[in-house]
Every structure is written in C-alpha cells, then in structure tokens.
C-alpha cells in the first residue's frame, strides 16, 4: 500500500540540488549513478565485490632482508652517515687546496666579499675630532697618525693609535671613540707646562708632575712660563715658583732662576745681575733685597752680584767699572 504524502504540492520547479536532496529524503537507497561507487553498485545488483589486491605474503625477499640488515649494521651505518660525508669533504677540500686556480679564485671571492662589506658607508669614517688639545698639538697628532679620510673603520687600529698619541710628550692621556655618523673622536688630556727648564742646550717644558711636556726651540715662544736652570732644578719647582711669586715687583727684570750646586738658587736678572739666595729661607732673603731695592734702588745701580748666602748681611759685588769709579773718587778726596 502506498503511503499518503501529506506534503503541500510543489508549486514551482525545483532546482537540481533541491531535487537531489528531495529524492534523498524520500528514497535514501536510490541515488544517481554518478554518486555511487562501483563497490556499492556491485552490492546493489547482488554481485560479488571485487577483492582489493591484497598482497598475500608481505614477507621481504631474502636479498631485501639481507640488505636491510646490512644497512642496520653499525659499521655500514656509521660509514654511511659519517665516514662517506667526511671522505667527500676531505677530498673536496684537498682538491681546492691542490689546484692554484681554484684556491686563488676562492681567496679572491672571499677578499672581495670582505672589502665589499668593509667599504659600506656604515663603516666609513669621515673625519676626526680632537678634543682638549691646543691647535698645534692637534696638528701634530693629525700629522703623526697619517690618516686619509674617508677610511673604513676596519682599517683603524684604535689601540695602536692610542699608544701612538700617548707617546707624544704633550699628551697626558688619550681616549679614542668611533661615533656613529663616521666620526673618530679623540679625547685628550694635555700636559699643562708649569715651567721651562734649561737642560744643557735644550729648553724643556715641565708640568706639575715633573714630566717633560714639550721642548721649546726658543724662550720667546713661552714668555709666560718661568725659566729655571741648573742640575736638580726640576725637583724644587714649587720652591722656585714661590720665589718667583715673591719676586713679582722685579719681574720685568727677572730672567730666571738657576740652581747652584743642587742646593740653593741664584736669581738671574738682566744686565747679568745675580742675586745669590741662601739655602735656607731664600724667600726671606729675597724680601730683604726687595726692601733694600725699594728704599735705596739697589738693583738699578751698577752691582754685579748681591750675595745673600750669609743671611746676616748682604754682600755686594760691584762691576769693574763701578769699582774703578769709586776708587778714583776716593783717591781724589
């Protein structure tokens, strides 16, 4: 008996998908042939399904089995994974090393790549900035380093450059930096010369630590620095500087101080006047001379030497001309 379909009658024509779905809903076991697999058709029509070709015996053949075991044996395994690649590597590198052309080409390629990278603008140093140095010193540093800009930062050896700069007498310490933007920065601490020391025939500038900070060709280059001479003078710089300070009223006449016998100072004025200061308390002695000078204008006279070594009294040595004049005037009287 037919079942009564109580669904509403179809008013419009169904699309193909709708009709397939509709058919599936009402008759699930009927499907268009395109959707059914060959196996299912066979079953639908009561045919025996074709057996899938199952391999009846999956056993490996004797040779396959032996080869498989051979691959798994440790000697073969290690040769395969380690020995043979190593061998190939050794042979290849030996070939490269033995044939000149390949080796040279190899090094060329390597060098090219290296210089290409080093020549990149990121690594170029355009200029050098020197901080904390006088112009003359900066000039001499530039001259000694002999850099031609632009230069790659790979070619700079900052440690060597630092040593080279620090070898200069004017430089106390130096530090070098590569700043972004192609800047080589040199920060210097200069030795500040305190005095000039006439050592034999050369004029050496000496700083507060007793180190030579430069050599002068002429005294006139640094008229602002006091001049000392004599052996051992540089070990008593501060005493000498005190004497210099006290001698301020006659500074226009003062030429320098000379250490005598490594124990006391001679003060040298122009016109070859010499004030011989005592070993002990030379400043007091100098003050007495200055006092004498201010009252009696003693230094303006024709005095060759004022000997203050005996602190109890100054001894004057007149020049030959003055002695002669005095002698003649006395003999006239």
């Amino acid at each position: 008996m037919q079942s009564i379909d109580r669904k509403e009658p179809q008013l419009r024509r169904m699309s193909s998908i709708e009709s397939i779905n509709n058919r599936k809903q009402h008759a699930p076991n009927i499907a268009p042939l395109g959707e059914v697999s060959a196996e299912k058709i066979g079953r639908l029509f009561g045919q025996k399904t074709p057996e899938k070709n199952i391999k009846s015996d999956p056993a490996p053949s004797k040779i396959k089995y032996k080869i498989n075991r051979m691959w798994l044996s440790p000697i073969i395994k290690s040769t395969l994974y380690f020995g043979i690649p190593l061998f190939i590597l050794v042979i290849f590198s030996a070939y490269i090393y033995s044939s000149d052309g390949v080796r040279i080409k190899f090094t060329h390629v390597f060098e090219d790549a290296k210089s290409n990278i080093q020549a990149r603008p990121e690594f170029q140093i355009e200029l050098m900035k020197i901080d904390g140095a006088s112009e003359t010193l900066a000039m001499s540093i530039r001259k000694s380093l002999e850099l031609s800009f632009p230069i790659s930062s790979f070619e700079l050896n900052l440690l060597d450059m630092k040593e080279k700069i620090q070898e200069m007498k004017e430089v106390k310490s130096a530090s070098l930096f590569l700043r972004p933007g192609g800047l080589l920065e040199v920060e210097l601490i200069e030795r500040v010369p305190l005095i000039i020391w006439r050592n034999g025939s050369s004029l050496e500038m000496i700083d507060s630590e007793g180190e030579i900070s430069g050599i002068l060709t002429s005294r006139l280059d640094r008229l602002d620095l006091p001049l000392f001479a004599g052996d051992g003078a540089k070990y008593f710089i501060f005493e000498a500087l005190d004497i210099y300070k006290v001698a301020d009223p006659i500074s226009d006449r003062l030429r320098g101080l000379r250490r005598m016998g490594e124990r006391r100072w001679d003060m040298i004025l122009d016109r070859n006047q010499i004030i011989q200061l005592p070993e002990n308390e030379p400043i007091n002695a100098l003050k007495r001379i200055l006092a004498l000078n201010s009252t009696q204008n003693i230094l303006a006279r024709d005095v060759e030497t004022i000997d203050m070594r005996d602190t109890s009294r100054p001894i004057l040595r007149l020049s030959d001309v003055a002695t002669e004049i005095i002698r003649t005037s006395v003999s006239k009287e």
Partner: protein
Amino acid sequence: MNTLYENQRTMRQKRRAALQRGVVAILDVGTSKIVCMILQFDPSVQINATEGIGAIANHGSFRVIGVAKTRSRGVKLGEIIAMEETERAIRTAVQGAQKMANIRVDHVMACFSGAQPKSYGLTGDVQVETGSVTNGDIGRVLASCDTPNFGDDRETIHAMPVNFALDQNPSLSDPRGQIGHLLSVDLHLLTIDARILSNLITCIKRCDLELAGVVSSAYASAISALVEDEQELGAACIDIGGGSTSVSVFLRKQMIFADSVRIGGDHVTSDLSSGLQIPRNTAERIKTIHGGVIATSMDDREMIDVDGQTGDWDHDRRKFTRSEIIGIIRPRIEEILEEVYHKLQAARFDTLPSQRIVLTGGASQIPGMEGLASRILGQQVRLGRPLRVHGLPQAATGPDYAAPVGLALYAAHPQDECWDFDLPEKRMGAMPMKRAMQWVKNNW
C-alpha cells in the same frame, strides 16, 4: 646427551655474548602469529642480576625497543610444516622489529609450543667429596641422574635441577657451601621431538640469526603470567594458543611439569568455518568479535551477519544468533579444557598445596572463559596477563603475548640448568671402571 650438552652450552655462551653486546631478539614461533621482540640490555643493571635478586626483580635490566608481529605461515599445531614459508614469516617479523628498533640484531632466543613436550622427573644422589657442597659436586649429582631412554628422535630442551636434598634436609634451592654427606637432586627433564626442533633451528639459521637459546613456550608463558607466590605455592599455567595449548605446573618457583594439548584457538575457527560454511578469516573475525562460551537468553536475540563471500546472494546474507555461534565454540573449548584437565591429573596437580590455575594465551580472551574453566579445572582459576616490561607497546601487553614476554624475562635471567654446571669430564670413561671396581668389591 653429550652433544646436546655441548649445544646448550654454546647457546648459553651466545646468550652471554648477546648480553654483552646489549641486544638480543626474542622470537615466538606460534601457530597463528610470529612475534619478534628486540631487547636492549643495560649492562649496569646486569651486574646486579648476578647477585641473585631473583627472576622477577631482574626485569628492569632490559627494555623492549622493537616489536613486530606477523601472521604465521607454515606452522601447524605449533610445529613447522613448511620451512620456506615459516622462514619468510620469521624474516618479516625480524625485519619489522629491526625497523622499529633501528638496530641490527644477530642473536635470537626462540620459543615454540609444539613438538610434544614430555616431562621426566629424575633423581640422583652422590657423596659429597670435600665436606661442603661445591659446584663440582652439583655437576656430579646432576650427572648421576639416570637418564630414561626417551628415544633417539627426542631431545632435551630443559634440564632443570628442581630441588636438592642434603642428608636430612629435603628441600634446598641452592646447596652450595653447605655441609653434608649425601647430596641428592630432583631433576626436571623436558624433552621434545628433535626433528621439529632442528626444523626451527634451520629456519632461524637461514635468516642469518644465531640461536642463543630455545625455550618451551609452556615455560616461557608461565614465567610472565604467574606471579611469584603462585610459582612458590603451586600453580598451573595454561597457555591456550592458536594451534596448541601448553600446560606447565610450578612449585617452589620451579617448573615441575610441562605438557601440551594439540588443540587451540585455530580449531575453534575451523569449527566455525565448517559449521557456518564461511571462509576461515571471516570465521576468525566472528570468533574474536562475537565469540563466547556461555550463552544467555540475550544471545538468542543478537543476530550476527555472516558474509560468506561466495557471490550467492542468499548464502552471503545469512544471519545467525550469537547462541548458535557459542554453541559451536563451546564444545571445542570444553574439549581443550578437558584435555588440559587430564594432563594435570596425570601430573598429579591435585596433590599440590595450592591449585591455582592461570589461563593465558590468545584464546583465553573469549568471554566467559574463566567461568567455563573453573567448572572443568577447579575453583581457583584466573586469567593471566604477562608481566609489564619496559618499553612494551600497549598492543603487545595482552595475554596472547605471554610467551614472548616470558621469554624476554628468561633471556634477562635464565634459570640455572644442567648445562650451566661443569659435568665431570670423564663421565663416560669413568663409569665402566667404577662398575668394574664395584663388581670386584662385591665379589671378592
């Protein structure tokens, strides 16, 4: 017996060499499947094993790194009948296990269930020479056992000293160092058909493998399926395999009896196949999915499609109730269990202090097996699964893997057998001289 003794000794040496190398394979040649397991031994743990911590404790010394199972070919009733086929199956299993382990294996220990094992209980006694028992004394007492004439075509597979007695002390497991005069031994000798054993050895040799030991699968499955106190107090392990069912009885941690029944799960399959007129593999599938041994009224209503694959529409669309299938399976299982019962009776199993029965093997998984077995064999029946060992995949932990797992345990810590002791060298020469002297003494 001497050549056998030498053979077994060389196998022991190979086993030791394999353990030193650290890799040994286990091969279980069954009727329905061949299993190959590759064990990796940790030498540091092996050192402890020599200090005698027991067979169970030693199973931490190895790790299963490869297992492969393949359908067995050319084996019937646990015996090789087509060597070429079996060799291919062994190759498949070994190659699969090697692939999983990613290592080559050269030494293999094998077990199989067929070849009609027969147990003999032997005794021997000897006077202790130096006052306290030495290894030499044990060798002599083992040699003094009278070997029964079991025929040329049989060979000893196990010869285990089960029990030592020293003067009045009747049960010693290890008499070495003890003081006494008369040392006697109970020796359990298990013999099998030599031709079948040589078939197996040839198959393994042809696969480029070295045989490091042969074990009866009755013994192997009992090692893994029986727990220690069952082995101590007395238990029987019944391994119901594909082609044969092996029975072993344990007492005081020693196997005292082994036998096999030449019926197994395959016979159930062939019964189903012929009873329902369906191909064997369909029958096998129906047995494993719908099989059972105890029918209930629910089973009358459970219809099972049986696809005959003949092309005949009517024949291929038959349906059977589960009760009908159970009706085919059950008599065969009962037959197996009754045979086992007779074997146990023959071994006087009922005199043991504890009569535990452990069912294992693939066919023991049939639902209702436990209940049926307890009706036939005795009340204390349980289903045994093999011991857990390191690295064994979940798929290989079922009762059908009892024999390979037991063999793995055996490989790690074998029982001392006759050939582990130095037998007196001039035994064959000395005996007639001794007899002559005895004769002279008696008659003068």
